[in-house]
Amino acid sequence: MSSSATLRLKRQQRQRRTRLVNALLALTVCSLAVLGLCLGVQSLALDQVFNILIGQSTEQSFVVTGLRLPRVLTAVVAGAAFGFAGVTFQVLLRNPLASPDIIGISAGASASAVAGILLFGATGLALTGLALMGGLATAAVIFLLSQRGGTLGLRLILVGIGCAALLTAVTQWMLARANQWDVLAALRWLTGSLNSAFWPALWPLLSGFALVAPFLLFAARSVPVLQLGDDVATGLGVRPRRLRATLLIIAVLLIAVATATTGPIAFVALLAGPIASRLVRRESFPLVTAGLTGAIIVLSADLVSQHLAPVNYPVGVVTGLIGAPFLLFLLARAHRQGISI
């Protein structure tokens, strides 16, 4: 039954399915983004928004291009960055719990940002920079602590969870000692919010993503080989340690720059990968699908929190409400049948 034409057919069917799923997800991202531009205190019709975007109309143009567009763009790019980073960690460490928001990288960015808010009153770019450095420094510490023994994996996850707990405690300690007014600002940031998504704060995220994501997409083609283990991968012409380090550094940069801009939007990095791998079952590294999934999660959670919730909750509250049960589900399943994304 298996002539080489059959093999080709099956392979092309799989590729088509992946492309179809990605196209549908991209379409969903676009629709949600347009919805985000239209809806608001003063909702606009589709053609009004379109005319504003192409510069034909100036009525309400500040609301659309000055307020809603940066918010929507932040949601899309930060969501994609969370999705990319999450699925990269999960696949390379062979564990769905290994997403950067579980293993302490987000906690590191948060602790550093909260310190900035409380101690120096940092806002805007300075806050972004602090969170970025905190995330990178935490990642470096976690990798160094889990290096002994040479293998990445469970050890890194455990060290990461330990670091996350420590950094969360530090954050709590700082909050407990600070004055009330600052605490509100810090808490808002900590929940993960798009309320401060204006153009000036958006540039680091946009440029960082544009600079780094292409490398990840290019390196992704070698990941299926890496999944066969270091020895087989070496035999097939990959340098496993170098490749893994490159991919993880890119993922850390993405998560840090996204967290720095929006705050740690809970569970998006954790959710995107497993959802994506259920949508395209045969893909061993569903990078693009996970990025699109991340963007959809953040966009739709923001729409829900702005327009459906009684109060304008930060977006992280909504993702947290979806994400926490999912984390429990993953833990229960991992316990029952071993771990795989």
Partner: protein, 289 residues
């Protein structure tokens, strides 16, 4: 016995290769030329350094001293993808990702031949198909790896190695965890690959008798050194077996192939080797210690 006359047609060489583990030297300045177009087998006791030698040849570990060369160039300085087009390897107990289907796994053997963006051509499908056919797993192409038996899995991994279309194939104990029938199947397959395509084979085997039956050339390793090398007839002698494995044995011709067959002596009998001599059926030519 550490120096072997260089062979002009050999492509993979170890030159004075030494390897340390935890400050302990496990391989001592080994020189080796893997004979081209032949099946070479590394034998030795557990901890003799045979797997370490294999891993050094396969560039899985870097020697502390000396170097491994492919076509005269240091293998660690060559682009690793370029090496992979010539040299394929199958490590012990490779792991397959969950849920992967056979055709996909075998297809990954094409990786070193794909372009920078991993574009797949019709020729690659043909090679995957040919590899599935050669190993007799074409019917399993769309099945998941975890549904297969141990013997079938090993065939699939061999198919992946074949799909790499390399002139030299290194295998680390390809028969472990297989029952005797699947051991023979696997080795027959490897012998076929050597016969039909002239592929140079280097493998580690635990079973001396299988090694002796399938090898053109044996390297016996003990204490991190090559202590004997040559055809199975030259290497498999009671003296070498004694020095490599610390085991008393007699060596008789394999009734099927005529290759040397090691028959270990029992502890009791080791003290009294000549009783055995009297028990050997008449007409069998046995060499006793």
């Amino acid at each position: 016995m550490n120096v072997i006359a260089p062979r002009s047609d050999s492509r993979l060489h170890a030159e004075q290769v030494s390897v340390n583990f935890d400050g302990h030297r496990v391989l001592h300045a080994v020189d080796l030329h893997l004979p081209a177009g032949e099946i070479s087998v590394f034998v030795g006791a557990n901890g003799s350094g045979k797997s370490t030698l294999f891993r050094a040849l396969a560039r899985l570990i870097a020697p502390h001293d000396g170097r491994v060369t492919l076509d005269g160039q240091s293998i660690s300085h060559l682009p690793t993808r370029q090496v992979a087009q010539t040299l394929a390897l199958l490590p012990q107990n490779p792991i397959a990702p969950d849920g992967i289907i056979v055709a996909d796994l075998v297809g990954r053997g094409r990786y070193p031949h794909l372009g920078a963006f991993g574009r797949w051509s019709h020729g690659d499908d043909d090679i995957v198909k040919a590899s599935l056919d050669a190993t007799g797993v074409a019917d399993l192409a769309q099945r998941r790896i975890e549904e297969l038996s141990g013997g079938q899995r090993q065939r699939v991994w061999l198919a992946m190695t074949l799909a790499q279309r390399a002139d030299i194939v290194l295998l680390d104990e390809p028969t472990t965890f297989l029952d005797v029938r699947h051991q023979i199947d696997t080795l027959e397959l490897i012998a076929e690959l050597n016969r039909d395509h002239g592929t140079t084979i280097g493998m580690v085997l635990h079973d001396l008798n299988l090694a002796s039956r399938y090898a053109d050339h044996l390297f016996a390793i003990a204490g991190g050194r090559i202590v004997a090398t040559g055809t199975p007839e030259e290497v498999i002698t009671p003296e070498t077996v004694k020095s490599v494995y610390d085991l008393e044995c007699i060596v008789v011709p394999d009734p099927v192939t005529g290759s040397p067959l090691v028959v270990p002596l029992q502890r009791q009998a080791q003290r009294d080797a000549h009783t055995i001599r009297q028990n050997i059926p008449p007409g069998r030519d046995a060499t006793l210690p």
